[in-house]
């Protein structure tokens, strides 16, 4: 398998030469996935915390549903978003199909359950510790959701990272709703799929190595941030 050696060579060549196409693709990958994770966080964090704090009939069912949705196949999500955004679909007039917006939407749908489920568990653990104190202080449910979310903020970074990992790595959804259009909706994963289908396995694997490096970079940056901010907050 000389492909492995060639893959490292390709990866190095692309990075060293700052290949303009590569820069564009990496930039779009990050913009789409980071946007999707931030949008998903706006929904997933309060949703997960509310599920952890509130008591209502059907809560168990909701939790099982949420945990199961973490396993949503990207290709199914892609298909659903395609049917919704297609010109023949209900949201067709918006003209969002084959744009980065459609990709953000698809990845957001994939990421919300992950953020919400991890948040639910994290906040619930914290709640068991602090619930009585907060109740004594007369804090209501909404207040408790906010307080616990804020208290768990550093642990919740893991939820966001898990969501980011899912978003940046998936190909099934974005290739359907984005169309893998050169210079418009081509991201790292769809470029890898394309090069594989051209039989250029070394280039495909090289792109894969760069994607991996990117994920490591993002995770390391968040960890550093967490450590620094954690020290500042807790001394």
């Amino acid at each position: 398998m000389q492909d492995f050696g060639a893959a490292f060579g390709e990866a190095f060549r692309l990075v060293a030469s700052l290949d303009p196409d590569l820069v564009e693709i990496v930039g779009l990958s990050l913009r789409v996935s980071v946007s999707a994770v931030l949008a998903a966080a706006l929904i997933g964090l309060p949703l997960g915390a509310a599920l952890a704090v509130a008591r209502f009939p059907g809560r168990g069912v909701a939790m099982v549903a949420l945990n199961s949705l973490m396993g949503l196949p990207p290709v199914v999500v892609g298909l659903l978003i395609y049917l919704a955004l297609s010109r023949a679909g209900p949201l067709g007039p918006l003209g969002l199909l084959y744009t980065p917006w459609a990709m953000i939407l698809a990845q957001m749908v994939l990421v919300v359950p992950i953020i919400a489920a991890v948040t639910r568990q994290t906040v619930e653990d914290l709640k068991d510790e602090y619930e009585e104190q907060l109740r004594v202080l007369g804090v209501g449910t909404a207040g408790m959701v906010a307080t616990l979310l804020w208290d768990a903020r550093f642990s919740l970074l893991t939820a966001l990272l898990a969501g980011f990992g899912r978003a940046i790595a998936e190909v099934g959804a974005v290739i359907i709703v984005g169309g893998n259009i050169d210079h418009v909706t081509r991201v790292m994963t769809t470029a890898i799929a394309l090069e594989t289908s051209k039989g250029d396995l070394a280039l495909a694997l090289g792109l894969g190595l760069i994607l991996l490096a990117l994920a490591i970079g993002v995770n390391a940056a968040v960890m550093t941030l967490r450590r620094t901010a954690g020290h500042a907050a807790y001394g």
Binding site: R31, S86, A88, W101, N180, G199, D200
Partner: protein, 273 residues
């Protein structure tokens, strides 16, 4: 709270930059096939058209079956595929304005150099398929209702072989694109039907080579159709028509003929013949 503000600001900036990228000028969306994209044809000829007209061409490359379906939903301005019967049906049903021949190449059967079915060097595709079936030699099929898949199914039918019965045995349907199917064929020493352009541009050939070519029945015609603006009012009819006209013009036809890989011409322009 300041941090939250910063996060929201970052998010807004990110989304804003996306919006800016979105606001790109004139463009049309073309539903096309993997063979035209994987062979590099579009990258070679589209810049000329864009430079001349200022119209950017966004290509969505999927199998012919899916491309026609997407176009029927109105998710494209132009359809550029290779399955004449299905294209004519698409126009007859009102999905497209008119179908034009653009170019052709041919299909070839590729296989391992060990050639278990002894078909190498043949010019008769039907005879080769019969030999492959008789030998029970592995054959990798697209199995995805693409133009190539439709062609392959018609060849089996002409050979009088019910290959579907052997599905999962020597007949293996990958259900994926041409490149993925070729990767599979190379991996499992299987024969496969492919368009010549994809094969010439394909880099992971392993020990595979063309075993059957030159049979008139392997002719592969590409057609172009403007998606009906009557049915789908949002279709960019003028810009889409400009692209169709350019493909059929002397300049477009010459650009198609000029595209080569390793000195081999991949497509032969034949508009208006």
């Amino acid at each position: 709270m300041r941090r939250l503000g910063l996060t929201l600001f970052t998010a807004a900036t990110l989304l804003g930059s996306l919006a800016a990228a979105e606001a790109a000028d004139r463009f049309i969306t073309v539903q096309s096939t993997t063979s035209t994209q994987n062979s590099g044809l579009f990258e070679a000829i589209l810049p000329t058209f864009t430079a001349k007209t200022g119209i950017e061409v966004r290509v969505v490359a999927v199998g012919t079956g899916q491309a026609i379906k997407n176009a029927a939903n109105g998710d494209g301005d132009v359809l550029f595929v290779h399955a004449k019967a299905a294209e004519q049906k698409f126009v007859a049903e009102g999905g497209g304005v008119e179908r034009f021949d653009v170019m052709y190449n041919d299909f070839v059967i590729v296989g391992p150099t060990t050639d278990p079915a002894q078909v190498a060097g043949g010019k008769d595709a039907i005879a080769a398929l019969r030999a492959i079936a008789a030998a029970g030699a592995a054959f990798a099929s697209r199995g995805d209702d693409s133009g190539t898949d439709k062609k392959e199914k018609s060849l089996w039918k002409a050979a009088g072989i019910d290959q579907a019965k052997a599905s999962g045995g020597w007949y293996r349907e990958t259900g994926s694109g041409m490149g993925a199917t070729l990767n599979t064929a190379v991996g499992m020493d299987a024969y496969a039907l492919t368009d010549r352009a994809t094969w010439i541009a394909f880099k992971n050939r392993g020990d595979h080579a063309i075993v059957v070519e030159g049979d008139p029945t392997l002719f592969n015609q590409y057609g172009v159709i403007l998606v009906s603006p009557t049915r789908h009012p949002h279709v960019k009819a003028a810009d889409g028509q400009a692209f169709v006209d350019w493909l059929l013009s002397d300049e477009g036809q010459a650009a198609i003929n000029a595209y080569q890989i390793d000195g081999q011409q991949l497509f032969y322009a034949n508009a208006g013949t």
